[in-house]
């Protein structure tokens, strides 16, 4: 992928604060280890006497388990343990695990190992520990399972029909705390409403109503799931794994295994991508239970097919969007109904879909219905702005159609109707200060938007340009940091946030800025759950915001403690000591941080502190993207030939990593738009369970991605930080769909917009 550093635009002169460290581009602390191959990933973990585990997975999408016979597998020399769901405690409660809502622990446990039924192809049924991976794989093949096949339910709308096969007899639709009387595949019905939707549509000059569908897609992280568990005789369990949140793994293990949380330590290894998919546990409980049984460490890793079949993708969806506008192009009403596949157990990101579908617009009359629906596919997991991409693909395509009908410039339409501070939004109080309009201004002023597009490509290909906006709300939640002053005047900074996108650097930079020392004097480390305070997952675009805030507070606390020690030394009140960067002074006396550190060490003193914060002012992030595409009307192949991502970062702590997040989000969005999908047959068998057939974008599929960082400071953070990691995946499918229409005059309302579909649409339009 070619990349280009582009522009950074503060919203106002007052917003262009001057910093020493923030806004610079230092080398990331983990960079050398990663490029030299020294970084330790989960698969690199080797312990003395370690053995290897393997999972038996369901060949069926939906079946009752009649019996499991493990005797033949257990008889194989080298096989040490075979477990099934009977080896897990039965748990029924719900608990808050990780972000947001409550998790049904029975479902969580039932996803780790199937109980009475298998609910998707790839659902784990049993696990084996053996002295070698090959023996474990052979033993898995010797486990005899008798199934009673059941009809699979693979389509979200079909799953909602009355009389259809139920996945769970005890699942009842819940609507705001009220349970339906009859069981259903619809787990929840969410409603957001404001104003008078009927009056709004009655006042409309133009109404456009369209239906959209999107395919199940995977996060496509490069490093598969892995876990090493060591359960010692004293009951102490230590787990090494690739995760977005060591503490949430600890919580899930505690809940699934009913083991005291104080006896579980989770060590996060380096992580080769997660994008939301590495929040749930899969292998960790299995490795732990087998380790307990045999008294030896157990290592488990997935292969790519297991990742695609057995871990949570983001759901396939159905989204209806209806919007009405008056003659001046003002939105009079907006309505949406959306159904998201949760997979085998409830918990799709439909709530976020409801929250974001009309988020870029100031809508006064609105009604949104969201349905969380179980189907016979893997339990869905988060994927970068989960729910928003599908919802805003639909609404942003309808907006483009409205602009065409009205003959309005799409930037002007968005600005005229654009959401700003004080406007209504679904499931939350009105917007605080946001950068939606500023992103539109920057889009309009961009070189890309101002450069006319050559309409004709080579060999009869046709070109088009489209734009789309996107919103992601971001979250705060709990983060901890601790730190200590070393004898040489540097600071060791311990973080509970796993580092996926360069956050060791962005957090250390905020610490350095707040403390007044150089970035290079801060040594950040991501540590295990015994070594730092509770910290939520690296997700929700929260880490640079919330853990960064913890680091800022830690810097202040360390300064207070240093002043306290100096006050004793100088026999003055602590508040009479001034800190100016790395120099502490009082009435003509001064010491540098290095001198203080040496003094402390000589006297056997240690300056250290720990901070936990739970900030709630995360501030949402808006983005507007421009896509130029070239369409081959003969083959339907779409190439993205130029792309610009404009995004409000609040304040870009490390602009290179912000740009990297923007470009990475765009690449994944291009894959979602054009290539990626789970292909199932009528029996619910995944037909493309490898990266040869499940097509994530490569460098050949992605153009130069230009970035424009807009900086509208978030009032909820001292430096104005907003999360940046998720929103860039939201606009690409709509921007590309709108560009395809601009090129060849057909609307694609089903993702992915593969050559077959584009070709068919072009041919149908030609008659």
């Amino acid at each position: 992928m070619a990349t280009k550093t582009d522009e950074m635009i503060p919203a106002t002169e007052a917003d262009a604060a001057v910093y020493r460290v923030i806004g610079t581009r230092p080398v990331r602390p983990d960079g050398v280890d990663k490029v030299t191959g020294r970084a330790i990933y989960g698969a690199d973990v080797v312990l003395p006497r370690m053995v290897h585990g393997k999972v038996l997975r369901s060949p069926y999408a939906h079946a009752r388990i009649v019996s499991i016979d493990t005797s033949e597998a257990e008889a194989i020399p080298g096989v040490l343990s075979v477990i099934t769901s009977k080896d897990l405690p039965s748990v029924q409660a719900t608990a808050k695990l990780g972000e947001g809502g409550e998790v049904n622990l029975g479902h969580l446990s039932g996803n780790v190992l199937a109980r009475e039924k298998v609910l998707y192809q790839g659902h784990a049924i049993a696990a084996v520990a053996a002295t070698s991976p090959h023996i474990a794989a052979e033993a898995v093949r010797k486990i005899r399972v008798q199934f009673e096949e059941l009809p699979p339910v693979m389509d979200v709308r079909l799953a909602m029909e009355p009389g259809v096969t139920l996945l769970h007899d005890d699942l009842f639709t819940e609507t705001a705390g009220e349970k339906a009387a009859q069981p259903s595949n619809v787990a929840a019905h969410l409603i957001a409403e404001e104003g008078d939707i009927e009056a709004g549509f009655a006042a409309a000059h133009l109404i456009v109503e369209r239906e959209f569908t999107t395919a199940t897609v995977h996060q496509g992280y490069i490093e598969p799931q892995n876990a090493v568990a060591e359960w010692r005789a004293d009951g102490q369990l230590t787990v090494w794994c690739s995760t977005q949140g060591a503490f949430v793994v600890r919580s899930q293990l505690h809940s699934i295994l009913q083991h005291p949380i104080s006896q579980i330590k989770v060590v996060p290894t380096e992580i080769g991508g997660g994008f939301g998919g590495k929040i749930p546990v899969y292998l960790e409980p299995l490795a732990a239970v087998m380790s307990r049984k045999i008294g030896r460490p157990v290592k488990m890793t997935m292969d790519r097919a297991e990742v695609l079949m057995g871990t949570g993708p983001t759901p396939g969806t159905y989204v209806m969007v209806k919007m009405g506008v008056d003659r001046d192009g003002m939105i009079t009403a907006a309505q949406s109904s959306m159904a998201f596949e949760a997979g085998a157990f409830p918990g799709s990101p439909v709530g976020a879909g409801v929250m974001t579908v009309f988020a870029p617009y100031a809508v006064k009359n609105v009604r949104i219905d969201g349905y969380d629906v179980v189907v016979n596919k893997p339990k869905s997991a988060a994927y970068r702005a989960p729910g928003a991409t599908m919802a805003e693909y639909a609404s942003e395509t309808v907006v483009d159609e409205i602009c065409r009908e009205l003959g309005m410039d799409p930037v002007e339409f968005r600005r005229k109707n654009g959401a700003k501070e004080g406007d209504w939004r679904a499931f939350a109080p009105p917007y605080p200060r946001v950068g939606n309009l500023e992103c539109l201004d920057a889009t309009e002023a961009s070189a890309h938007w101002r450069t006319p597009l050559e309409r004709q490509g080579a060999d009869g290909k046709l070109r088009g340009r489209g734009i789309a906006s996107g919103y992601w709300f971001n979250v705060g939640l709990t983060s901890s940091c601790s730190g200590r002053l070393n004898g040489d005047g540097t600071v060791t900074l311990l973080e509970g946030s796993t580092d996926i996108g360069g956050t060791r650097a962005s957090i250390a930079m905020q610490f350095a800025e707040a403390f007044g020392i150089e970035y290079e004097a801060v040594h950040p480390s991501v540590v295990d759950t015994d070594s730092v305070g509770f910290t939520e997952v690296t997700g929700g675009s929260r880490t640079t915001y919330a853990t960064g805030l913890a680091a800022v507070e830690l810097a202040k606390e360390l300064q207070i403690r240093i002043k306290g020690e100096l006050a004793k030394l100088w026999e003055v009140p602590a508040d009479a000591i001034a800190a100016n960067g790395a120099v502490f002074a009082n009435n003509g006396k001064s010491l540098t941080l290095k001198e203080i550190a040496a003094l402390m060490e000589e006297n056997g003193l240690q300056i250290q502190a720990a901070i936990t914060v739970s900030p709630t002012g995360s501030g949402g992030a808006f983005a507007t993207h421009i896509a130029d595409v070239e369409v081959d009307p003969e083959t339907g192949k779409v190439d993205v030939i130029r792309y610009t991502a404009v995004q409000d970062a609040g304040k870009a702590i490390h602009p290179s990593y912000v740009e990297g997040q923007m470009q990475g989000g765009v690449v994944q969005g291009i894959g979602w738009a054009l290539h990626e999908e789970y292909v199932y047959d009528e029996k619910g068998q995944l037909r493309n369970g490898s990266f040869l057939d499940y097509r994530i974008p490569t460098t050949l599929d992605t153009p130069l991605i230009e970035t424009i960082i807009v900086e509208v400071p978030n009032p909820g953070h001292p430096y104005g930080v907003r999360g940046v990691g998720e929103v860039p995946i939201v606009p690409p499918p709509a921007a590309i769909a709108n560009a395809i229409f601009d090129a060849v005059g057909v609307r694609l309302r089903d993702l992915p917009m593969s050559p077959r579909k584009v070709c068919a649409a072009v041919q149908a339009a030609a008659g």
């Binding site: 705390g177 409403e193 709530g351 409801v354 939350a428 009105p430």
Partner: protein, 91 residues
Amino acid sequence: MAKVNIPAAMRSLTGGESCVEVAGATVGEVVAALDERYPGLAARLTQEGPAGIKLRGGLTVFVDGEMPLGGLKARVGPESEVYFSPAIAGG
């Protein structure tokens, strides 16, 4: 009096009212006041937990634009705006 935004799916209990004013110094007191005026709302907003009544799982409360710690014990001012909404996760 605090201004409380009623979730759309619960407005059948408030006769369609989307925003109501009730007295209460904590979120729990606001819920009790709501229930007194609109019987049944407390059962939809709260549930039994191991340590007593708590905010229903999957719900979030905002007070003056912030998500306060403390659930039902969170402080509410006389002019506060209170929103109950589904808890939404990120990725």
